[in-house]
């Protein structure tokens, strides 16, 4: 064996190394079964040592791991003497989640205020025209406003429960805040399941046309026209709108799912699951709310003519040309650009044709 190795070494260094490594690996593999009994016996002696050293410490360590015992009490999780999850939950919820959540929402609001101050309202540069483009059907608008209404109610009541102790108790005192918190909790728990329905309808209704495409990268690289002058080419929905749709979809489903875990304790889910659900619920909700500030801003104050789409269902042709040029062209071809007089009576329209090219 040694001779052959030496020969190989002379023939080529790489081959010899490979052979050496292989031999080593095989030798190690052969040794492993020999080592196992040794390791086991060592583990056994150390375990016995620990037990004889201090049996009491071992016992209470097990209790701290949340071991289950026997009890005659039949309340939830009564058989656990000491649970550890609560302290983690308390520290994460009262610490990073509340702090970073507050900062996130605050920073977004400040950023919007700064943007409005320096960039101002985004106007329709060509001014109002007498032609309108049909954008959202009545059904789409109903789904949107149903989601929006339940969202705002849940956001306000949820924020009251999460931040009320820090923000509202110093203003109004504990007794008055208790009334608000009680109402918030009840409203939140009953409106919550409606929001679950709303989110599912929202996803089904708006998913068409919200898949990303190549043009979105260009839009993103140009900052969506938010900075500087000039407009960026976009289809029916631009990158920002698509991202908001996907955020609403994912955050909506996560927030709805975790909320249902908390809303129905009658199914006997464990305390650990509810701790986890509460943290996921709070984190997602805070991100969702912070992002919604941006959506609400750009849909109302931030951009002239944008609110028409969701209120009236149709938009000004100049607005469509400036913000969704590719969509406008396809709508023009389909004959969906109509004089204002014809469209004002439009209530149960055909809705947007979400083809983006």
């Amino acid at each position: 064996m040694n001779e052959s190795l030496l020969k190989q070494a002379r023939a080529g260094k790489w081959r010899s190394w490979r052979a050496l490594l292989l031999t080593g690996a095989v030798a190690l593999a052969l040794c492993v079964p020999l080592l196992i009994p040794l390791a086991v016996s060592q583990a056994q002696t150390s375990a016995q040592g620990a037990q004889t050293d201090n049996p009491r410490a071992g016992f209470w360590r097990e209790v701290r791991h949340g071991d289950v015992g026997y009890t005659t009490a039949d309340t939830p999780d009564a058989d656990v003497l000491i649970q550890n999850g609560g302290q983690n939950w308390r520290q994460l919820r009262n610490g990073p989640i509340a702090n970073y959540g507050g900062w996130l929402m605050g920073i977004v609001l400040v950023a919007i205020a700064v943007f409005l101050t320096f960039r101002g309202r985004i106007r329709v540069e060509a001014g109002p025209s007498d032609m309108r483009v049909i954008r959202f059907s009545l059904w789409q608008r109903i789904v949107h406003w149903f989601t929006a209404t339940t969202f705002v109610i849940l956001a306000l009541t949820g924020l009251a429960i999460f931040y009320g102790r820090a923000v509202l108790i110093p203003i109004m005192g504990k007794d008055a805040f208790s009334v608000i918190a009680m109402a918030s909790k009840q409203i939140h728990n009953f409106v919550g399941p409606l929001f679950v329905v709303a989110v599912l309808m929202l996803v089904v209704t708006f998913i068409v046309g919200n898949f990303y495409e190549r043009g979105d990268i260009k839009w993103l690289l140009k900052g969506g026209g938010m900075v500087g002058k000039g407009h960026v080419s976009a289809g029916c929905y631009n990158f920002g709108e698509k991202s908001w749709f996907w955020l609403a979809t994912i955050a909506g489903i996560v927030v709805a799912g975790s909320g249902l875990v908390l809303d129905f304790p009658n199914f006997g889910q464990s305390r650990e699951l509810m701790q986890l659900a509460e943290m996921i619920h709070a984190i997602t909700a805070v991100i969702f709310i912070a992002a919604s500030f941006g959506h609400i801003y750009i849909g109302t104050v931030g951009m002239e003519g944008a609110l028409d789409a969701m209120v009236k269902g149709h938009v000004d042709a100049n607005w469509a040309k400036e913000h969704h040029d590719r969509w406008y062209e396809s709508m023009d071809k389909q004959g969906n650009v109509k004089p204002i007089g014809e469209v004002e009576g439009h209530r149960v329209g055909q809705g947007a044709q979400h083809r983006t090219t």
């Binding site: 037990q51 004889t52 049996p55 009491r56 016992f59 097990e62 209790v63 071991d67 015992g69 026997y70 009890t71 005659t72 009490a73 309340t75 939830p76 999780d77 009564a78 058989d79 656990v80 003497l81 000491i82 649970q83 550890n84 999850g85 609560g86 302290q87 939950w89 308390r90 919820r93 009262n94 429960i161 999460f162 009320g164 102790r165 108790i169 504990k174 007794d175 805040f177 208790s178 918190a181 009680m182 909790k185 009840q186 728990n189 009953f190 399941p193 908390l262 809303d263 129905f264 304790p265 009658n266 006997g268 305390r271 509810m274 701790q275 509460e278």
Partner: protein
């Protein structure tokens, strides 16, 4: 000022549930069916090393329930007893998530998060209503501390396993017991009976 504490001597507890019954008896109107302020948990039941411990609210110094309560309805008395105001409680269940000992109890567990007002051990010290008034008794149970008495669970413990009172006093009693059993408290117990025979 005294700092009130519970201490359960696990070497003495025989899981008779006398403390549970005593608690129900003392705080009857505030603890309807389904609410049990105190419970006995038996660990390693039926095995060598079985231990029973009576547990309820431990009146923590830095109480987690108090820290997470959205309406801040908990308060600590000068005696170190953690109490709460049921008029302010919204029944959200957060104190139940946070408490390591599973002390907070709720009269309901229904759909849409309906739990009712939280109830927990008051160390037989009532609540924020006037001491020993009818309203206090109905909402929070008895107020034995105001009468200069200790919680009924500990008072009625047959083996004097459950101790309640000033933390310094009861820890001295416990220490005396441990000393009497030997410096390594468990050497006389089950290890000698089972382990060395193995």
């Amino acid at each position: 000022m005294a700092r009130m504490k519970f201490l359960c001597d696990a070497e003495r507890c025989i899981a008779c549930n006398g403390c549970v019954t005593a608690c129900k008896n003392a705080n009857e109107p505030a603890t309807p069916w389904g609410i049990q302020r105190r419970r006995v948990v038996t660990l390693n039941e039926g095995e060598p090393g079985q231990k029973s411990i009576s547990v309820s609210c431990m009146h923590c110094t830095d109480a987690p329930c108090k820290a997470v309560c959205p309406v801040d309805c908990f308060y600590t008395t000068p005696d170190g007893i953690v109490l709460h105001n049921k008029d302010q409680c919204i029944g959200c269940g957060y104190c139940f998530y946070a408490c390591p000992f599973g002390a907070p109890q709720f009269p309901e567990r229904e759909a849409f998060g309906s739990r009712g007002k939280m109830d927990k051990c008051t160390f037989c010290a009532g609540g924020p209503l006037p001491d020993n008034s009818k309203e206090e008794y109905e909402a929070y149970g008895s107020n034995r501390v105001a009468e200069g008495k200790l919680p009924l669970c500990a008072e009625m413990c047959a083996t004097k396993s459950l101790l309640a009172g000033d933390g310094e006093v009861i820890s001295k009693i416990y220490l005396k017991r441990v000393m009497k059993r030997g410096t390594r408290p468990d050497t006389w117990g089950w290890e000698r009976a089972y382990m060395q025979a193995l």
